[in-house]
């Protein structure tokens, strides 16, 4: 084992209390950053979950639409025009909107209605655990997520309630389709969605375009854009990005999450810097001896940086375990914390950068060391 590593390791473990304090500082800092960034990713996924689960090549949206939940409407004549554009195989209407759900017990709660032409399968519920999607074509049929049973006052398949004084029946139950607004999604046929949200029969919120085989999506998009007026034609990725940008940055939620993450980095850096500095100060005599017997500054820096890296590895290892637990505990909540492999790697690199940056103060202290002090101590 290289002696630099041995020296760094022993210096670090020599004072266990300080090591524990350092590691707790790193874990606290990294978990804070992890949670903030995990929330950011989780939120980003949640706000685009409908778009991500839609089977479409292009979205026709009202001009200026900021996000999926935007209630602006399109005229169905736009659909007829779209269908006339070469390369367009389908233009499936989607109707969304808030409505009032009245439970069998008489209480009411807001819901978010999502209606689509179920025969075309543009935007239909997924993760169906009870009932069948096909049964949504039957009268009054709706699909809800089982996590909202209590809120909606129902007990499962076959339960009845009212939306806008019209009877609905739970014909399919999904699992894990949760709304970041906490307002439950209710899936149904597009015509029923119009009736429940008050959208006129000649209007729709979006049209989902499917491009005919053999046609370029880009070319069809250009033709649609030049043919249709007062609409935007977006790819699913563009619509996702726009929705995410609106919710994360238009509302300030993303900035708050980033500010929290930055705070975590600052707190972590200060804690590690403080403990590393005091450790270096305590071992100053040894560093002076090293300098006296002829070690280069680089050699001493290696010892300190090695200590910082050991701190980083230990701290990150523990933070990763806490992170895994947090991910597990929040998996089925309204806002799950999502940690992707890329985020994991980024956090590890951040921990290393943070710990090495923390070593700067200690290095500056050692740089000023006078080797001649070994004769007077």
């Amino acid at each position: 084992m290289p002696l630099v590593f041995t020296l760094a390791f022993r210096n670090l473990f020599h004072d266990r209390l300080r090591l524990v304090a350092t590691v707790i500082g790193i874990v606290f800092s990294i978990v804070l950053v992890m949670v903030q960034m995990g929330l950011y990713l989780g939120f980003g996924q949640m706000v685009t979950t409908m778009i991500d689960h839609t089977s479409a090549d292009l979205w026709i949206v009202p001009t200026g639409t900021k996000c999926f939940e935007d209630p602006s409407l399109l005229d169905t004549r736009q659909r007829s025009r779209a269908l006339a554009v070469g390369g367009v195989a389908e233009a499936i209407p989607v109707v969304i909107g808030f409505a009032d759900w009245r439970t069998p017990g008489g209480s009411s709660t807001p819901v978010f209605v999502v209606g689509s032409d179920l025969r075309s399968g543009g935007l239909k519920p997924w993760n169906v655990v009870e009932g069948r999607v096909e049964s949504l074509s039957t009268p009054n049929a709706v699909a809800i997520d089982r996590s909202y049973f209590d809120r909606l006052g129902v007990s499962g398949l076959g339960a009845r309630a009212e939306i806008r004084q019209q009877s609905v029946r739970v014909a399919a139950v999904t699992s894990g389709i949760r709304s970041f607004t906490t307002t439950p999604y209710v899936f149904m046929d597009v015509d029923r969605a119009r009736a429940h949200t008050g959208v006129p029969s000649n209007k729709a919120t979006y049209f989902l375009v499917r491009v005919a085989q053999g046609n370029s999506v880009d070319a069809v998009r250009q033709r649609l854009s030049s043919t249709l007026s007062d609409v935007e034609v977006l790819t699913p990725a563009e619509f996702s990005d726009r929705s995410r940008a609106f919710w994360l940055f238009g509302t300030g939620a993303g900035a708050a999450l980033f500010a929290g993450a930055l705070l975590g980095v600052i707190v972590g850096t200060i804690i590690v810097a403080q403990t590393l500095y005091s450790s270096t100060k305590e071992h100053l005599n040894e560093f002076a001896t090293l300098r006296a017997i002829g070690s280069s500054r680089k050699y001493i820096y290696k010892v300190i940086i090695c200590q910082a890296l050991l701190n980083a590895v230990i701290g990150f290892g523990l933070a990763a375990m806490v992170g895994a637990l947090v991910v597990h505990l929040t998996a089925s909540t309204a806002l799950p914390i999502v940690i992707t492999p890329a985020l994991g790697i980024a956090l590890f690199l951040l921990t290393i950068v943070m710990c090495v940056a923390s070593a700067i103060a200690a290095i500056m202290k050692v740089t000023r060391i006078d080797p001649a002090v070994v004769f007077t101590r």
Partner: protein, 237 residues
């Protein structure tokens, strides 16, 4: 190693002290030289300058024929690790490292990290009589044993000069004698000079040459015989 007309001013303004006032001396291979003087005489300042840790205000120092004037801190560190071994009064061992690792450290800073480094460290410890203590930590060793480890660390890189600062001051007389005998053995190498700084007259019999320093000046230089005779006269008087 040679110092020519070395002067050193320490501090600024009214607190300024002229610690050395034009000192010249040379260390020769195969000799153990004692640098003796009372507290505040300039011993440690001279040792720091000879050890390339402090630069003189005036004069020059030559190590193995190279003038060290104008060298930067890193060049001086390189000179120290290649040419000079140090033995300190309070040993300055690394408490978290074993005796063998403490010795190996002197090789490690020289970038000697081959598989023989540990063998060399163990051999150096064997030469100072600590073959059985290679895995002991400083806290498990007596003062005399710790100073032996420090001597092993000083010689393991085969330097041309050993500078020892009060190496027996923290030891009882038996351990002090043993340490001096070791230093005498080390000084038998014709290519290596040993300078021991002390104020303990009991070390005189071990020296080949004694240099007396007072108030920043070298006041006397004697051979061992001359010093011993003088000591006898003083003791009889």
């Amino acid at each position: 190693m040679e110092a020519i007309n070395v002067a050193k001013v320490l501090g600024d303004g009214p607190a300024q002290v002229r610690a050395l006032k034009g000192v010249s001396l040379s260390l020769r291979g195969g000799e153990l030289t004692l640098l003796m003087g009372p507290s505040g005489s300039g011993k440690t300042t001279l040792l720091s300058i000879l050890g390339c840790m402090l630069t003189p205000t005036e004069g020059t120092v030559h190590v193995c024929g190279n003038c060290v004037s104008g060298h930067g801190a890193e060049d001086l560190a390189k000179l120290r690790r290649n040419q000079i071994g140090f033995v300190f009064q309070s040993y300055h061992l690394f408490p978290t490292l074993t005796a063998a690792d403490n010795v190996r450290l002197a090789l490690d800073v020289r970038s000697t990290r081959d598989k023989h480094a540990m063998t060399k460290a163990n051999e150096a410890l064997a030469k100072v009589g600590l073959a059985h203590k290679t895995k002991s930590y400083p806290r498990q060793l007596s003062g005399g044993e710790q100073q032996r480890v420090a001597i092993a660390r000083a010689v393991v890189g085969n330097p041309s000069v050993i500078l020892a600062d009060e190496p027996t001051a923290a030891l009882d007389s038996e351990n002090g004698k043993a340490i001096m005998k070791l230093l005498v053995e080390i000084a038998k190498d014709a290519d290596r000079g040993v300078l021991v700084v002390t104020h303990d007259p009991r070390l005189v019999p071990y020296a080949d040459r004694i240099i007396h320093i007072e108030d920043g000046n070298i006041v006397r230089e004697q051979s061992r015989e001359g010093a011993t005779q003088l000591q006898d006269i003083l003791e009889r008087a």
